[in-house]
């Protein structure tokens, strides 16, 4: 019975069916002697009652062969838009014609047999040398080229449903077989020229098509593509870069002094003695011009040399430490991000990570990049400027880099102090701007996952945890990096696995499984189950069974 044919199934597809409670008689060739020449219209009473025509279904345009068919379609089945096929279709597309196929140069009568399954429609063209009618009422016969897309027509399984249109076309799969079922080759074309015969006139044949055209008709047909990937999971290491050469260290022009507090105080006293002022003013407008900068950085430097402090040709008696390297590393160590659930809940978007970096602020890190891995923080500081680059390494590979400044300037003149204030105010403005734009502070995020990391905070609003923290602000902030981890709190009923199971997506023999099982796809085969039982079993397996 045609129980499940709905508008959704047929929308946008064109096909034709013929159905009758009596045996079905097809086209062209003379009918066999015992074939009736007409059908009893009353046979449709059963069809009408068994066939659940919805209101939408009735609104589809139906094409029929004869005026009497049209009357029956309207009066008995309640169709509202019934037309004669002759009126709307050119004669050469009219399906009920003689059916012949040219096999190895010989025109041979044939008929169609079709088998419908969830895999699609298989059409077999069975050659014969004499009429083979009537077909079994359970057969489902014929396909017309203009109604080629019948993949979803697998619902038509009932014995009352026969299909005809057919004559010369090729369905999705077309095989010519002989009476014994062996495949016949050499098909070159089909013939459809002869008119149909008496007897066919009275077959209640309904041709229908969806009313509306597909609005995507201009789009090319779907084509097969995909596959052929390399599945290459290799990844190149991006280690911490080598320390760059010193360009601005101590040399004949410049010196990087790193005085102790006592040494600095002594130098300050010495700076303002008359002798030094006199000497320096030979070359510089004032003492400040000979001092490029005075600032402090938040690290200790253990390797240094000592010399008598001198500047611009003026030599003091103060012994002072100095260095020749410009860049120093500060290692904040590593954290291993263990799995919490050992499941998708540990991954994005369920779990999110926020990384606080001293002198930088809080930045988002892509969860999927760090779960189960070791994250390391390494600062590389330029002693000359106090600027730094902060490397965020994951399993010793650089994933993120941020820049900033970690020095505090110590003013040695009013102009120098003014510059420092302007710089600080500028940083504050930048911080506000970044928060306004991003909702979080990521001063410079060059790493591969930086942009992605902005979006991992689930559907809940992302709240900035800090702004830009450079220079003095950084000194006032937290000076140890930390991670803020936000992970879902799972609600797990006791013995959940026995009631609902966990995601599997594996192919398995059911006999190898134990416990609650939900099947996604199965083709039950090699069974002696009744057809209805197969459907029952499939439904049970897809709803969940206990093996």
């Amino acid at each position: 019975m045609l129980k499940h044919l709905t508008v959704e199934n047929i929308e946008g597809r064109r096909f034709s069916i013929a159905y009758s409670t009596q045996n079905f008689y097809s086209t062209g060739v003379p009918l066999s002697d015992n074939a009736p020449t007409s059908l009893d219209p009353s046979s449709f009473s059963e069809l009408a009652s068994d066939y659940p025509l919805s209101a939408e279904f009735r609104n589809i345009t139906y094409y029929v062969l004869t005026e009497s068919s049209k009357e029956n379609a309207i009066n008995r089945l309640g169709f509202t838009d019934v037309r004669l096929i002759y009126d709307d279709f050119p004669a050469d597309t009219f399906p009920l014609k003689e059916s012949k196929v040219l096999i190895n140069g010989v025109w041979t009568p044939f008929y169609f047999e079709t088998n419908v399954s969830n895999d699609g429609l298989l059409v077999s063209i069975v050659a014969h040398d004499k009429p083979q009618y009537p077909f079994n009422s359970g057969s489902f016969i014929g396909i017309n080229a203009r109604y080629s897309n019948l993949q979803s027509f697998s619902y038509v399984m009932g014995c009352l449903i026969n299909m005809v249109s057919a004559v010369y076309s090729i369905a999705p799969t077309c095989v010519l077989v002989d009476a014994a079922g062996a495949t016949i080759g050499g098909i070159s074309r089909f013939h459809y020229s002869a008119p149909h015969y008496v007897g066919v006139e009275n077959i209640y044949t309904w041709f229908f098509e969806s009313r509306d055209n597909n609005p995507y008709d201009g789009v090319p047909d779907s084509s097969e593509d995909g596959g052929g990937g390399t599945y290459d999971n290799d990844s190149d290491p991006i280690p911490l870069p080598e320390m760059p050469p010193t360009l601005n260290g101590s040399n004949s022009f410049t010196t990087l002094w790193i005085p102790t507090t006592a040494q600095l105080n002594a130098i300050g006293e010495w700076f303002w003695t008359d002798d030094i002022l006199t000497n320096i003013k030979k070359l510089f407008a004032d003492i400040v011009s000979a001092v490029l900068s005075l600032h402090s950085i938040p690290i200790t430097i253990d390797e240094f040399n000592t010399a008598i402090f001198n500047v611009a040709g003026a030599t003091s008696t103060i012994e002072c430490r100095y260095i020749t390297n410009q860049f120093y590393d500060f290692d904040c160590g590593s954290l291993t991000i263990e799995k919490y659930y050992g499941s998708a809940l540990d991954q994005s978007p369920h779990t999110s990570y926020l990384l606080y970096l001293p002198f930088v602020g809080s930045v988002s890190i892509d969860t999927d990049e760090i779960v189960g891995k070791t994250i390391s923080i390494r600062y590389r500081i330029d002693v000359v400027t106090g600027g730094f680059i902060c490397y965020v390494l994951i399993n010793n590979n650089v994933f993120y880099t941020y820049t900033g400044s970690c020095s505090i300037s110590i003013p040695i003149s009013s102009a120098n102090y003014g510059d420092m204030l302007l710089r600080l105010l500028g940083n504050a403005a930048d911080s506000v701007s970044l928060v306004a734009k991003n909702g979080l502070s990521a001063p410079v995020a060059i790493g591969a996952g930086a942009q992605l990391a902005l979006n991992v905070m689930n559907a809940k609003p992302s709240i900035s945890h800090s702004g830009t923290l450079s220079e003095a602000y950084g000194w006032l902030g937290v000076t140890t990096p930390y991670l803020v981890i936000k992970r879902p709190r799972l609600s797990m009923p006791k013995n959940y696995q026995a009631f609902g199971g966990f995601p599997s997506n594996m192919t398995a023999k059911l006999g190898d499984l134990k416990g609650f099982t939900v099947v996604e796809q199965i083709h039950i085969e090699n069974t002696n189950l009744l057809e209805e039982e197969i459907q029952m079993v499939e439904n049970l397996l897809k709803a969940g069974v206990i093996l």
């Binding site: 010399a307 937290v478 398995a508 796809q521």
Partner: protein, 156 residues
């Protein structure tokens, strides 16, 4: 037709039912033509049989080689016959056939991959928040002055 009645203590969707036999090898006939999937049986009425049937919810027909869930609408006809109906339990009846099938498994109790996110899990709206500090941070007591000077320095 030989029928065995049971009390089924298992879920309907369990393949291997936990059965307690209530009546063994009871002879009966079908009310009409045998519907293999939905048989209706006529059994000889005795008060003892009826009482045992009331305690039954499952039966097996040897001739069809199928197990059935017993409908609870037991009918006594003229104090002579008991009408019993049921619907086939295809899962148990064909367990060997089903176990031989191969399928794509959507969810499973013991064979699973928790990194597949099928959105079935439920989570509370109060997430777990943790903070983890790195082993080492900047110690501001260990600062260094940097005095950067220019102009014909002598450091050797």
């Amino acid at each position: 037709m030989t029928v065995n009645f049971y009390k089924n203590n298992s879920e309907r969707e369990k393949m291997d039912k936990d059965l307690t036999e209530t009546i063994a090898n009871l002879e009966g006939v079908t009310k009409a033509e045998l519907d293999i999937l939905r048989p209706v049986l006529l059994l000889q009425y005795t008060p003892e049989t009826y009482a045992l049937l009331l305690d039954s919810n499952y039966f097996y027909i040897a001739e069809t080689s199928r197990y059935y869930f017993m409908n609870k609408d037991l009918t006594i006809q003229n104090n002579q016959l008991i009408i019993v109906s049921g619907i086939v339990d295809p899962l148990t009846s064909h367990s060997d056939t089903i176990r031989a099938q191969t399928a794509i498994i959507q969810r499973q109790e013991n064979s699973y991959n928790l990194y597949l996110d099928d959105g079935v899990f439920k989570i509370y709206q109060n997430p777990i928040i943790q903070q983890k500090t790195f082993p080492k941070g900047f110690n501001l007591n260990n600062y260094t002055y940097v005095l950067y000077t220019t102009g014909h320095n002598k450091i050797s």
